[in-house]
């Protein structure tokens, strides 16, 4: 395998992504964990660029490293966050889970290892956003509209759930 620019870019992005994930598992403060995961999200956006999905890379930066991380940080700061988490999980349980996940990874890796797909030429990189728009509005119009309903339901649902219900509080007191 030659060390081309694409290969080097992929290796460095993948390294940063995996390091972010490992830091998520090993850090003790929850805020640090979330910040470590931002590195993973940004490098996944870089992976999208390598896979000629520039629009998705922009969406990934906006939604994941922007919105979702901020929501998670709010969730941490609105709840109790000063206790460093762990370690009551139990070492045996962790060991069993680790072995189980490792077995899962090995089983899937056997399937990946021998995969040989014939590569076909594609033109995904030319006018990527325009292609996505045309496809979205010609073939996927109904799922697109249903997604708007889903987002509305999530918005109203989260407002209703997180709202402080004063009547119940008044009844309790």
């Amino acid at each position: 395998m030659t060390f081309s620019g694409e290969f080097l870019a992929f290796m460095s992005l993948a390294l940063v992504a995996v390091i972010g994930g490992v830091l998520l598992l090993n850090l003790t403060k929850v805020v640090h964990m979330v910040v470590a995961l931002v590195f993973t999200f940004v490098s996944i956006a870089g992976i999208y660029v390598l896979l000629s999905a520039e629009f998705l890379a922009a969406v990934q930066i906006l939604i994941y490293s922007g919105a979702i991380t901020i929501i998670m940080l709010f969730g941490i700061m609105l709840t109790r966050h000063n206790d460093t988490s762990e370690p009551k999980t139990g070492r045996w349980r962790k060991l069993f889970l680790f072995v189980g996940v490792l077995g899962f990874a090995f089983a899937v890796y056997i399937g990946i290892y021998n995969l040989d797909l014939p590569s076909a030429p594609n033109d995904l990189h030319v006018n990527n956003t325009e292609q996505i728009g045309i496809e979205l509005y010609s073939k996927f119009i109904i799922p697109f509209e249903v997604t708007s309903v889903l987002l509305l339901v999530a918005l109203i649902g989260s407002v209703v759930l997180a709202k402080k219900d004063d009547e119940k509080e008044a009844e309790k007191e």
Binding site: F7, T40, L51, L56, I63, Y64, I71, T79, T89, L161
Partner: protein, 104 residues
């Protein structure tokens, strides 16, 4: 045509998925469990985009699916954080092993 084979992308997605799975199963803080689930969804997205470029019939559909997955994931995070906050108001705790009742 390309110097990075499709197996490399799939292996990266597998590693990230396994990290997310292990984190979701072992961590006690609910926020960390939610964000581990986000990591698993991201790994699936990498798979979709990789197959949309290097699959047998390359097409833009994989990227469209990824957009839908991102939208659903964002909605899920919003509802999850709302549930977490209302649970915290009742239980004064964010540890996932103390959330074992649907009514208080």
């Amino acid at each position: 045509m390309s110097t990075v084979p499709v197996q490399a992308y799939l292996a990266l997605a597998l590693i990230l998925f396994c990290i997310g799975l292990y984190g979701a199963l072992t961590k006690r803080n609910t926020v960390i469990v939610l964000i581990s689930i986000e990591l698993m969804l991201n790994a699936v997205n990498i798979n979709l985009v990789a197959f949309s470029k290097y699959g047998i019939t390359p097409s833009i559909t994989g990227q469209i699916f990824t957009l839908f997955v991102i939208a659903v994931a964002a909605a899920e995070v919003a509802v999850g954080i709302a549930i977490l906050i209302s649970l915290y108001r009742n239980k004064k705790s964010v540890n996932i092993d103390e959330m074992d009742a649907m009514k208080h």
